[in-house]
Symmetry: C2
Subunit: 483 residues, 2 copies
């Protein structure tokens, strides 16, 4: 390998936005976890036999089974020779036939329109209509390669093409899902942090939004507000009144609303309910019902957890027609989202109906997953709160807990001495001693002087119990070591 | 819908890079073609029954059948219950098992590493080694969502994060595949056009590269050179000597080489042969063999044409280790490319071997597709050159012809009067009169004062013959109308 002088790309000449970009869900702790997995595989002795990847919302990786209906439809679309097999229920065959009729050359191997297959966009709109009781226009639906792709595409529209105080500002909740800080960094845009109130169940205070935007005005042009509901990493679920307040704030500040609603099927807490921003906005009536809003959904979460298929969509409402044309154009060079991911979306938004041969199994599998998630959300909230030096808001929804850890000064100093943030120091120790892989709170940003980590609630119940027991003894040990 | 004043996004406030971005393969002619399809479906009478989409390299859309082996492996991975079916050859089951063992939770529904599944990266490296006779490191292989995604990821590394004359410059062939101009526009980078020599079979002259880069120096920082080989839209295949010259030029100018080699399986002309940039660079030895190079490949072209699965990869060699770490990090927020697309890549780079149950059918299907493409490449070259007012270089490779059309002054004036480029005017007339959908040469950029269109060679042989007959009478009619 040549020296730096011979290279076009060095750390000095690399796109500085790339250097700035961080994505903690796959950050240093996770990289170390993979190394440990390889060490275990090559026979290195550890105090554990297995790494538990609680860092990422990857349902199937932690033992969740795929939904039979989805996979049967996918298999039939992939290899239509299976249409003659008696092992596939009639409704899966009908669905696959309908989808293939919409594919050019009747093949999943052809490109679709860049916005996705028309029929599937129609089904998405019908799903939204049924959910919200307000009309949804298939032309407002844009299918995507997972939700992330759709989020970045809409953010791209909002960039100003300028730097300094003219760059676009995106209001981002703290703690956030790090896609948002990563995308803002990559785009050279400005993240405007607003803090969720941990003391009040991670609620979102309007006065905090006002503080945040006012402090940002000389640093950027505020263009949009990101809300994640149900919350990642917080597990909070917003009330309708809270959403109304956010919409009114966005209207006053002329902000585009980016509503990350990928966990809309994942609400567990008694009394909590998912309200879409679209629905609340429509209920408020004019002028709010004319506001520009993008809502994002994914095939990767909910009860299906089909992460690997990279299915997702955005509903983007109230764009000016000429702006919508530009939006369509801007995604055309990507050609189209994977067709198999589009098929997964179709199965989710238009599932088997009562009376269909696949109906009862579909419901059984769906409810099983959601009930287990609910059980685990309760289990993990309870356990974290029973440990001294840890507090954790109720996991009302989504797939994560974000407990606060109270670290002794000696631990904070030890972390500083090792050049790490205190929670990264804690998460590395947890990983090395127990094999449990989590993500330090600093990766999601957090209120200065507070420390957290994010863990998924995804391991199967028995495994989760074991993990929590191991975690507890690690934590007590860690605290006493540094006290 | 509210007025412009109420909207966050208007044409004035939209990201100007998005407005700048154009992707002709899905541009106005194609949008009109889709409208015409809808008109036909709703009973509107036209001089034709069907739109022929010769605008896009979408093999299955034009009747090519999927490779049985690929679809069987995909179906087995999707729905592993099929492992018990007697209808799948043993080698497809073995392959599917091996892939599922590498998937977390043994499911295509889990995320892979952002670079793709290790085993598949290993298979890609083995494929490249066998092709080039030089070592390939699996750590240099990054799987992607089609080649486009990989291309944009590597281009992102090369951006400077600055505007004006400090922005990154990308040398782009003219005519080009419009992904490159679209991406440069989106990134706010500077495209440095270099012209291919139509008179000499679209060859690439080193003195033209020198001219192009010299003229760009006050407008940007030249960072990389894009080469498309086999050529899109030109159909040209570069000689080894030509590639050597390009590499030496890139070395002298310290340019990162971006080699778009997605048509590496598509070489038809007698005596023409695909040489990878990697191979030629290694053959040249030091210091060339230490140059930074990215080569891109796709599941969408070749003999498989699995566009809808969005599979692709890049081999990126000679990056400094710290730069490679940044590259990996930069794609981590995208989570991973679709797993089913990764499976398609695995089948392509590691196809059935002699003696395997699927071998003979695989070879038969592959050769059938490639032979037909060769036949169509010859047919289309011959026919275009037999028509007065058209000349067309030999379609040596890839999937397109890019004939030059000599338009009468009256046609050029009529185009100007209608506010269109002359070749767009021609392509719209062709579409409205015959239903044949092509892409105007202006969408690929072309030497000023010359006019072209791009057509694929993908329709099935009998249909292609019909299309060409229709085309010929349209063309003669058009010319006489404007003479």
């Amino acid at each position: 390998m040549g020296s730096c002088e011979e290279h076009t790309l060095t750390l000095d000449t690399l796109n500085p936005n790339v250097i700035e970009l961080q994505y903690a869900v796959r950050g240093p702790v996770v990289i170390r976890a993979t190394e440990i997995e390889n060490e275990l595989a090559s026979g290195v002795k550890k105090p554990f036999n297995k790494v538990v990847k609680a860092n990422i919302g990857d349902c199937h990786a932690t033992g969740q089974r795929p939904m039979t209906y989805i996979r049967q439809v996918l298999a039939l679309c992939t290899y239509p020779e299976l249409m003659n097999s008696p092992d596939f229920p009639a409704d899966t065959k009908e669905r696959a036939k309908k989808i293939l009729e919409e594919c050019k050359g009747h093949s999943l191997g052809s490109y679709s329109d860049s916005c996705g297959i028309s029929l599937i966009r129609k089904h998405v709109a019908q799903y939204i209509e049924a959910r919200d009781n307000y009309p949804s226009d298939p032309n407002d639906i844009v299918l995507s390669t997972g939700a992330s792709d759709a989020i970045k595409s809409v953010m791209t529209l909002l960039l100003t093409g300028k730097g300094g105080s003219d760059r676009a500002g995106f209001m981002i909740p703290i703690p956030q899902y790090p896609l948002y800080s990563a995308a803002t960094a990559e785009f050279g845009a400005y993240p405007i942090p607003y803090y969720l109130n941990e003391k009040n169940n991670w609620s979102l205070g309007i006065s905090e939004l006002e503080r945040a935007i006012n402090e940002s005005r000389d640093k950027c042009k505020p263009r949009a507000i990101v809300i994640i509901n149900p919350g990642n990493p917080t597990g909070a679920v917003l009330t309708k009144e809270n959403i109304q307040g956010i919409i009114k704030f966005a209207k006053q500040e002329k902000l585009f609303i980016l509503a990350d609603e990928v966990y809309q099927h994942n609400v567990y807490a008694e009394g909590a309910k998912f309200f879409s921003f679209k629905q609340v906005l429509m209920e408020l009536g004019a002028p709010y019902s004319q506001m520009e809003l993008a809502s994002f959904m994914s095939a990767s979460k909910g009860f299906m957890g089909e992460c690997g298929y990279r299915g997702g969509y955005a509903e983007v409402i109230n764009l000016l027609p000429e702006v919508r044309a530009q939006y369509y154009k801007s995604i055309s060079a990507k050609l189209c989202p994977p067709i198999s991911g589009q098929v997964v979306i179709d199965c989710i938004v238009n599932p088997p109906k009562q009376g269909d041969p696949s109906y009862s199994l579909f419901i059984k599998e769906k409810e099983f997953v959601l009930e287990k998630l609910k059980e685990k959300a309760e289990l993990i909230t309870k356990l974290f709160n029973s440990i001294e030096g840890i507090s954790c808001n109720q996991v009302m929804g989504a797939m994560y807990a974000f407990p606060r850890i109270y670290l002794p000064d000696k631990a904070i100093k030890a972390a500083e001495a090792s050049g790490q943030s205190p929670d990264a120091f804690y998460c590395f120790a947890l990983l090395e001693e127990t094999g449990i892989c989590t993500v330090p709170g600093s990766g999601f940003r957090e209120e200065p002087g507070t420390y957290h980590f994010r863990t998924t609630i995804l391991p199967q119940v028995e495994e989760l119990k074991e993990v929590l027991t191991k975690f507890e003894s690690f934590h007590l040990n860690f605290i006493s070591k540094y006290s």
